[in-house]
């Protein structure tokens, strides 16, 4: 694969994996995300060998659980992050992680394309906004996500610019709920 990929492409590729077990789509996802998962886990303190193994496990989970991905509520990067995080908890802490109850009404088989696109773009904007944060604040956030800060060391109000992405997620939830009833 070459060139820049729009986030939407990733969401479409995950749907192809879900609907057709499309191996070419999966390979493209692997080339893009596996090195990022490996990098993320190494920054979290894993050695290169363990990080590579876990990156493969994370991508295997993507293959197996593609039907759980909802592009109107999260970008592919966000979804892969949650899988990688859970794999890290497994590998490093060996403790259980209770997950919130699934919503009874999602994800939809044919996600709304415009909605999915906006979600991916909003996530991209969030990435840019994070990159613009003052160095000190960004370093703190990174330490929190790479596991170097405990909850008591994170400020109660993080001051992150999350207003617009929250509105977007809230809209997606409301639309799903509306379609359900």
């Amino acid at each position: 694969m070459s060139g820049q990929h729009d986030e939407t492409d990733w969401a479409v590729l995950v749907l192809r994996v879900r609907d057709h077990q499309d191996r070419a789509a999966f390979a493209a996802l692997f080339r893009h995300f596996a090195p990022r998962v490996k990098g993320f886990l190494m920054k979290s303190g894993a050695g290169a060998t363990l990080a590579e193994e876990c990156a493969q496990d994370v991508m295997a989970t993507l293959w197996q659980k593609a039907h759980l991905f909802d592009p109107t509520r999260a970008s592919v990067a966000t979804w892969v992050f949650t899988i990688a995080r859970n794999r890290r908890i497994d590998a490093l802490r060996k403790s259980r992680r209770p997950e919130p109850e699934d919503l009874p009404w999602g994800p939809e088989p044919e996600p709304d394309q415009a909605e999915a696109l906006e979600m991916q773009q909003e996530t991209k904007r969030l990435g840019h906004a994070l990159a613009q944060l003052p160095e000190k604040q960004r370093a703190l956030i990174e330490r929190a996500y790479y596991g170097d800060l405990s909850h008591s060391e994170i400020a109660e109000e993080t001051g992150l610019p999350l207003g617009t992405i929250k509105s977007r997620i809230r809209l997606a939830l409301e639309r799903l709920r509306h379609n359900m009833s």
Binding site: G39, I89, L173
Partner: protein
Amino acid sequence: MMTRHSLPDNLLMGYAAGTLPEAFNLVVATHVSLSDDARVRLAAFDAVGGAMLDDALNDGAALADDSLDQMMARLDGLPQANARAPEGPDGIFPAPLADYVHVSGRSIRWRSIGAGVKQAILRTDGRASVRLLHIPAGQAVPDHGHRGLELTLVLQGAFFDGNNRYGRGDIEVANQETEHTPIAEAGMDCICLAATDAPLRFNSLIPRLAQPFLRI
């Protein structure tokens, strides 16, 4: 459902980052199951993690040469997981909590801690502890301060603490500075899920003597 007493950012971020003790994870997962607002805020903190992952390419992160081949070979043995109906709540217990409450089909083992108040400790990793509290309607929980952080999530009924009322899905966050006396609302027994990362101190003599035996 809107909850007026929600979790502070640091706990939602800690849950998204995957760094909280299991006992706190359980309270957060249960609260999020009951609160759309918390669900939205958590999804936003997950998105921060997504942005971080997107940015996590570094020099050491190049994959081994045969990584993709290995991966593709592995897919053959991997069935796609079947879509299954999401687990629903079990009575007053949202799905993540139901898993802990009904360990191997046993019913809850309540233990009296005095004044009609009962508790049941749930098994989690040792970094913090979590228990169910059953407070008779109109009854106060013995006055206690904290050395650490205490999260109390209402599952049934309601309690008052000072001027605040906490109903189902609401969460009270208490720390060192908080001396509080939750009192269950009249009319219905109150059941809460409470987690703490330090032992509680009770301010009256008998609960304090009993503390080592009760593991609270």
